[in-house]
């Protein structure tokens, strides 16, 4: 029950992430100014050289990342999907850390959309680590022969 609640909370966070990343990707391709309470900071970040990596907008990378996390969370849960979610959220967290570093020390401007996304990704990473480490051991294969003691008691 507790695990279900955590998974639902993670799905909600991933949906928020998809929303943020979709908006920023749209802004990038539409060439419009992002809504920003910090003046031109968001525009400065989103038009900087660091807004693309190998020609791909980082906003689009974020969107794909959130969609992949969401897909992992809605899929039937087992050890592999939990590990997949961990891998994706850790990667997303690392990438968010890199982008925040660029904002602070290379661009010298903070984009609030990027900060919100970084917070969401950090929460997702923490939740996925918790879930991965706290989930029970994977089910073991049942022994082919019943244990003699148990068989004896049943027979008795």
């Amino acid at each position: 029950m507790e695990r279900d609640r955590l998974r639902i909370a993670m799905i909600v966070l991933a949906l928020i992430g998809v929303g943020i990343a979709s908006y920023v990707t749209y802004v990038h391709y539409a060439g419009i100014k992002p809504a920003c309470t910090a003046g031109e900071s968001c525009t400065k970040v989103q038009t900087s050289i660091y807004s693309e990596l190998a020609g791909v907008p980082v906003a689009l990378m974020g969107l794909l990342g959130y969609v992949a996390i969401l897909a992992m969370l809605v899929a039937p849960q087992d050890e592999r999907t939990r590990f997949g979610t961990l891998l994706l959220t850790f990667g997303g967290f690392g990438f968010s850390a890199y982008l925040t570093y660029r904002e602070l020390f290379s661009i010298h401007a903070i984009c609030e959309w990027c900060v919100c996304s970084a917070v969401v990704m950090t929460l997702l990473m923490v939740a996925s680590v918790w879930r991965f480490l706290r989930s029970g051991a994977p089910p073991r294969a049942e022994p082919e022969m019943p244990l003699p003691g148990i068989a004896g008691s049943r027979a008795g």
Partner: protein, 276 residues
């Protein structure tokens, strides 16, 4: 006695065996859980390590922002840049911030930030062809206008732009702009110093340096930078490079050029406006 005790002791042995089995099962389960937990911690460590390595690679790969440090004014790189720029612009009329025949049918306003790496990409990749095919032939004229995007400090932005406009007083602004982009340094590395600005001016053929220095104090150029910013805002530009294209003397229209390395899109637009 023994016949009464035997089943009891038998039962006790069975119970003991079952208890021992149960204990073994619990111990095995605990051991398995510990092994699983250990395996997960190793996986977690592996993922964290992999992410750190990937981010370090990205940091190293993008560390310079795709640009090198600005070359020293009299270095071989600076000499090569000025040779290329002089060859490209020589013989084309210049006036103030404009390049090309004043009566060319098409006007292209190029809004840029001299420290913007995307502008550098456009200026070095796509613009030479436009200058060669459209400006030199008298089909179009280019105007360079300022829009702050990449430059970190407003004062630096103003200073470098006024330095370029001051070269325009001697009809050499495009030399200054082209040299700036050719010798552009790492974004926000603080390379735009007074020495750098004067070094660029010293590379421009025929520029009278004392006159250029004096012109930099002309408030008309600071006002021009403000007017450019207002024009960019009015056009709704969000980044650089951005363009307004239209008939010379007529209303210019916003033009989006997403391909910064190929001149084909902007050349097609110039052709379209020229024929309209």
């Amino acid at each position: 006695m023994s016949s009464v005790n035997d089943p009891e002791s038998d039962l006790t042995r069975k119970q003991r065996r079952e208890q021992a089995r149960e204990q073994r099962r619990v111990a095995e389960q605990a051991h398995a859980e510990q092994a699983t937990q250990r395996k997960r911690l190793y996986q977690l460590g592996g993922v964290a390590l992999a992410v750190v390595v990937v981010i370090a690679i990205i940091l190293v790969a993008t560390g310079s922002g795709g640009s090198k440090n600005a070359p020293a004014p009299k270095s071989a790189a600076a000499t090569a840049a000025s040779t290329a720029v002089i060859a490209m612009l020589q013989g084309i009329p210049q006036s103030s911030n404009a390049l090309g025949n004043p009566s060319a049918p098409v006007t292209v306003q190029y809004f840029g930030d001299l420290e913007c790496p995307f502008c550098k990409q456009f200026t070095l990749s796509a613009l030479p062809s436009v200058i060669q095919k459209d400006v030199r032939t008298g089909k179009a004229r280019l105007e360079y206008r300022a829009m702050e995007t990449a430059t970190r400090e407003k004062e630096t932005f103003q200073n470098q732009q006024v330095a370029a406009l001051a070269a325009g007083k001697q009809n050499r602004m495009w030399y200054y702009v082209e040299l700036f982009y050719h010798e552009q340094g790492e974004e926000d590395s603080g390379y735009v110093t007074e020495n750098y600005l004067q070094g660029l001016a010293a590379q421009i053929p025929g520029l009278n340096l004392p006159e250029w220095s004096a012109a930099r104090n002309d408030p008309a150029y600071s006002n021009q930078v403000i007017a450019d910013a207002q024009a960019a805002n009015q056009a709704g530009f969000t980044g650089t490079p951005s363009f307004l294209i239209g008939k010379t003397g007529g209303t210019l229209q916003k033009f989006e050029d997403s391909n910064l390395t190929s001149p084909s899109t902007i050349e097609a637009q110039i052709e379209k406006v020229a024929k309209s």
